[in-house]
Amino acid sequence: MGDLRTLPLAALHAELGARMGPFAGWEMPVQYADGVLREHLHCRSAAALFDVSHMGQVMLHGPGAAAALEALVPADLVGLADGRQRYGLFTDLQGGILDDLMVARRGDDLFLVVNAANAAADVAHLQAGLPAGIEVDVIADRALLALQGPKAQGALAPLVPCAAAMRFMDAAVLDWEGAALWLSRSGYTGEDGFEISVPLGAAEAFARTLLAQPGVAPAGLGARDSLRLEAGLPLQGQDIGPDTSPVEAGLGWSVGRARRTGGARPGGFPGAERILHDLAHGTARARVGLLPDGRAPMRAGTPLFAAEGDPTPMGRITSGGFSPSLERPVAMGFVPSRLCAPGTRVYAELRGRRLPAVVTALPFRAPGYRK
């Protein structure tokens, strides 16, 4: 506990009444005075401000950075236009997922946002896997904020007018009172919104200014987790990891057409053989949504059975809990592909009892992205 890293805005969180907890080596705001349920619903109806400064921010400089990064990430990065962002994966030689990340194109440079728990490993992976001409610049002098919800644009536009013209997955550098903000219109909640990288010197003033806008309230990691679950978004290290392949995780779409068999630049990324095979032939298991019967939440680790009396589990829940928007429990997990059709009835073992759940398509709630 003593080794936890402290967020640059820790004093502001304390002032806002945050309850702090450890996550990925950082002391993070889990919730504020309103609690997870209200923070969640506020994000769905208005706008929530999250401090996600624990996440790793990395710039890649040098000619051909996009082509070079394609050696580590199966997304189409050469085809990523300036000012656009794309979701990608670091894969390993077996086709497992080392981390998921966002990649934004800024001229010849790429701006990466990676998960906190893997940030150091990702940087080492980049340094080892990219040619000497590409500089891997770890950005340590910026906070990262996420403003999410249907009122996010309305709250941000008075401060940064050009942000309103951005559409989903656009990336831009915009000025706020002399500070260069690195924005993308994206997030991890299923809502419209922005992720905003702010120079440390301006971060607290910028956060306070956003919080003073109508409709904006702070939200913590607890709400971030229930929001992303409703949005069907996987969490690295929990739903996906080295033991899951992109295709079985339902992330095959992130493998660009150009990188696939018959594309302009097929393969050439770690685990290509397995991943391209999975894309062509399907996988033995799949990530699905699950709607538990009744009110009992089914949480991560809960074993799944094909039939009420089966002795051995066929799958496992990887994320689950109560959905504040749907007012019912929801979960996601992996099941054999023969059981992945929506409507399939499966059984979860909860406190020694087998309780039914129904396989459903993800997400649980349609996203509000401004495309």
Binding site: G35, V36, S226, P297, F322, P329, R351
Partner: protein, 119 residues
């Protein structure tokens, strides 16, 4: 009212013992979204897991504070788990149990002792 180290409150109602969770516990749990109650007439031993409480964040249990028989459960909590946050020491009682000897309650914490325990 008496208190356990597991953050339950115990109140004597006639010859029965009423059990709920403290305001401190309710606040720590956060928004309660699911409650599972024991069977009426169940015989329980001290320390048995008799109720399940799930908040948005996590699952936890209520342990039987004493040996005895469950005689009544608060079904209102099943339909409206949020009562546990709204009125933990009043409307949100969990169950009533019959115990052999109510005098053993003397062994539990008083309100002052509990306040110090959670301080």
């Amino acid at each position: 009212m008496k208190y356990t180290e597991e953050h339950e409150w115990l109140r004597v109602d006639g010859e029965l013992l009423v059990v709920g969770i403290t305001e401190y516990a309710a606040k720590q749990l956060g928004d309660v979204v699911f409650v599972e109650l024991p069977e009426v007439e169940a015989q329980v031993a001290k320390g048995d897991e008799v109720c399940v409480i799930e908040s948005v964040k996590a699952a936890s249990d209520i342990l039987a504070p004493l040996e005895g028989e469950i005689v009544e459960v608060n079904e209102a909590l099943v339909d409206n788990p949020a009562l546990v946050n709204d009125d933990p020491t009043g409307e949100a009682w969990f169950f009533k149990m019959r115990v052999d000897d109510l005098s053993v309650l003397d062994g539990f914490m008083t309100e002052d002792e509990y306040a110090e325990f959670v301080a």
